[in-house]
């Protein structure tokens, strides 16, 4: 039963992700609740390990740095039940091989848009689940290779996402504890063939077979994000942990990129309208 509800929730979220909220709205503007935008800017520092057998069979590792942006808001068409999330994450890592004589750089840009159905469980605690559309662009660059120096990463996914948020107080300090997970289910992604050079693909122009249908048989990504927002006045200090797993196995090429990062940032709600509202629907509480 729970599984069936979860699946329906994912499907509904995916469908809503592609429908403009404006087309579903149709409410009287005077009766619309105020829906503050909850934004967060984060600086994330941690460690990344990367293995890409197109470049090398050796796993590289090293420090990584990310800049993140997140925007949460109650949906206009059903603010009490639905919320939207935009997330942007730019990640750069500089890695070395275990011997320390090889270097690899990586860069990723991730954007996702999610629509989640939320359920209030008890005072301050709510759960949410829904669908997510995500875009990933990036690549790995091995500084010691000849005609296979780099491999580009590009993917468009549809998947499931879940969120749990608990708003409480520690003495007089409001605190929001939140956990988010994203799991792409299907999509398309780019990969060269086993021994195909980028010279052949992009200089000669043999581009056949580079785009693949992605599902869990050949591509498994998972993103976990745990944050604590300490509300200090109008703004909140965000502390957290982000884990990103990107794996593909296609054309006999394996790619496994794992990042673990400590998150430090600023978050808070922005009131986009000064019009008096009958009620406020916050994504915090």
């Amino acid at each position: 039963m729970i599984v069936r509800k979860t699946v329906w929730c994912i499907l509904a979220g995916v469908v809503f992700s592609f429908l403009s909220p404006a087309t579903l709205c149709g409410q009287d503007p005077e009766r619309e609740p105020l829906r503050p935008v909850a934004t967060a800017f984060t600086l994330e520092v941690g460690r990344q390990s990367a293995l890409d057998t197109y470049l090398t069979p050796i796993r590289y590792g090293g420090p990584m740095l990310s800049l993140g942006y997140e925007r949460l808001r109650a949906a206009s068409f059903a603010p009490e039940q639905w919320l939207t999330r935009h997330a942007v994450l730019g990640t750069f890592a500089s890695m070395t091989n275990p011997e320390g004589n090889g270097s690899m750089l990586s860069g990723y840009f991730d954007y996702s848009f999610a629509m989640l159905r939320r359920w209030r469980v008890c005072d301050g605690l709510w759960l949410a689940g829904g669908g997510e559309a995500a875009l990933t662009l990036g690549g790995l660059y091995n500084l010691r290779n000849s005609n296979n120096p780099a491999t580009a990463k590009a993917a468009i996914d549809l998947g499931a996402t879940a969120m749990a948020s608990y708003h409480f107080r520690i003495k007089r300090l409001p605190v929001t504890l939140r956990y988010q997970a994203s799991l792409p289910v299907v999509g398309i992604f780019f990969s060269p063939e086993f021994g195909q050079s980028y010279y052949e693909m992009f200089y000669i122009g043999n581009c056949d077979g580079m785009v693949h249908f992605g599902a869990w048989h050949n591509r498994v990504d998972l993103r976990n994000y745990i944050t604590v927002d300490l509300h200090l006045g109008k703004r909140a200090l965000r502390l957290g942990y982000r884990q990103v797993m990107r794996t593909t196995h296609v054309n006999h090429i394996d790619t496994q990129v794992f990042t673990h990062a400590f998150v430090l940032g600023i978050s808070g709600e922005i009131f986009r309208s000064v019009r008096p509202a009958r009620r406020i629907v916050s994504v915090y509480h």
């Binding site: 008890c122 000849s146 005609n147 050079s197 394996d254």
Partner: protein, 341 residues
């Protein structure tokens, strides 16, 4: 009730996460010891090297032959020597194992042949140390009104504007000698830049293929490589290309392309070959390995891994006695050929 639902959701999610982590494909990991490094090297080549079938090599047998020379306590240099000896079996100038103390290389095709080129002789007796030089190309109109250009390495990027200047300067010559002797190769994009000045229509110049899997016979269908003529200055008169066994890799490709064009004659010796586009990889101990990964064929779909022959009737070696007197007999033949047309 709510707690029960939450528990079930949590269990479901935990199981799913566990399943996903388990579903990561296992990648073989080799140990950083003599056996692990040797096996890593052998496996990288076993899966990626592109000429096993063409060269009729039994790679499994070669593994057995050299693996039994390993010992657990051998030094890094001793391991390198065993790996080096195994790689020599490939007879491939594009195969190099690079360690901190040495780089293995196969140059037998070069050492076993006459050099057929003396830079100082050309500079002194034909160019009088007075020539123009740009984009890595020396050029001059010789007294017989024959244009001459020497391109030392396809690693030197040829600028289109520089090439305009060169060809405009040589336009009054009756023919052109392009000397790529001892040119060890470089970037294939420079091959197209240069060749596009000698064709007047889209031209099929060869094919490229790549491995589609780790098996020795798993290759893609050859994909045609076509060059389009440059919209800038193009040379329309007879051309002689000079080659020797030191003409390797991208330079070997250049000769194979030019040889198929009308009005072009290739003189000198066989080229050195090297028709596999090299890839790189590495071993657990940090040594890097370069190897031929993607075969490039000539316009007739033939391998040129072991070299390109001169045009029929134009195979010629340098006469060293004449060379000691300042005469390059290969260049003299080319000058006479163009002057006599």
């Amino acid at each position: 009730m709510v707690v029960q639902k939450l528990s079930k959701i949590a269990i479901l999610f935990t199981l799913l996460s566990t399943l996903l982590f388990q579903s990561c494909h296992k990648v073989e990991v080799f140990t950083d010891d003599p056996y692990g490094n040797f096996d890593a090297l052998w496996s990288i080549l076993d899966e990626h090297y592109c000429f096993f079938e063409y060269k009729e090599l039994d790679w499994e047998e070669i593994r057995g032959k050299y693996r039994k020379k390993l010992t657990a306590n051998m030094t890094s240099e001793e391991l390198f020597d065993v790996c080096d000896a195994m790689l020599m079996e490939l007879k491939d100038g594009h195969v190099n194992l690079t360690a901190a103390h040495n780089t293995s290389r196969y140059w037998e095709w070069l050492y076993g042949s006459p050099e057929n080129y003396q830079e100082r002789l050309i500079d002194e007796y034909y160019l009088d140390f007075d020539y123009r030089y740009t984009s890595g190309i020396k050029y001059k109109i010789l007294p017989q009104n024959v244009g001459y250009m020497y391109y030392e390495s396809f690693s030197s990027t040829i600028g289109e504007g520089n090439l305009d200047q060169i060809l405009a300067y040589l336009a009054t010559s009756t023919g052109l000698i392009i000397d790529v002797r001892s040119n060890g190769g470089g970037s294939l994009s420079n091959v197209e830049t240069l060749v596009s000045r000698f064709i007047n229509e889209e031209t099929l110049v060869g094919y490229i293929s790549h491995k589609t899997g780790p098996g020795h016979r798993e290759f893609s269908e050859p994909y045609p490589i076509k060059y389009t003529p440059s919209p800038r200055i193009r040379y329309q008169k007879p051309v002689v290309v000079l080659a020797n066994r030191g003409t390797f890799s991208a330079a070997n490709n250049f000769v194979s392309v030019m040889k198929a064009l009308p009005r072009v004659v290739v003189m000198g010796d066989y080229t050195g070959g090297g028709s596999g586009l090299p890839f790189s990889s590495e071993l657990p101990n940090g040594w890097s390995i370069r190897f031929s990964a993607s075969p490039i064929y000539d316009a007739e779909g033939q391998h040129t891994e072991f070299g390109v022959a001169p045009t029929d009737g134009f195979k010629i070696d340098m006469d060293l006695e004449q060379a000691s007197k300042g005469v390059d007999t290969i260049l003299e033949r080319a000058i006479a050929y163009i002057a006599g047309l």
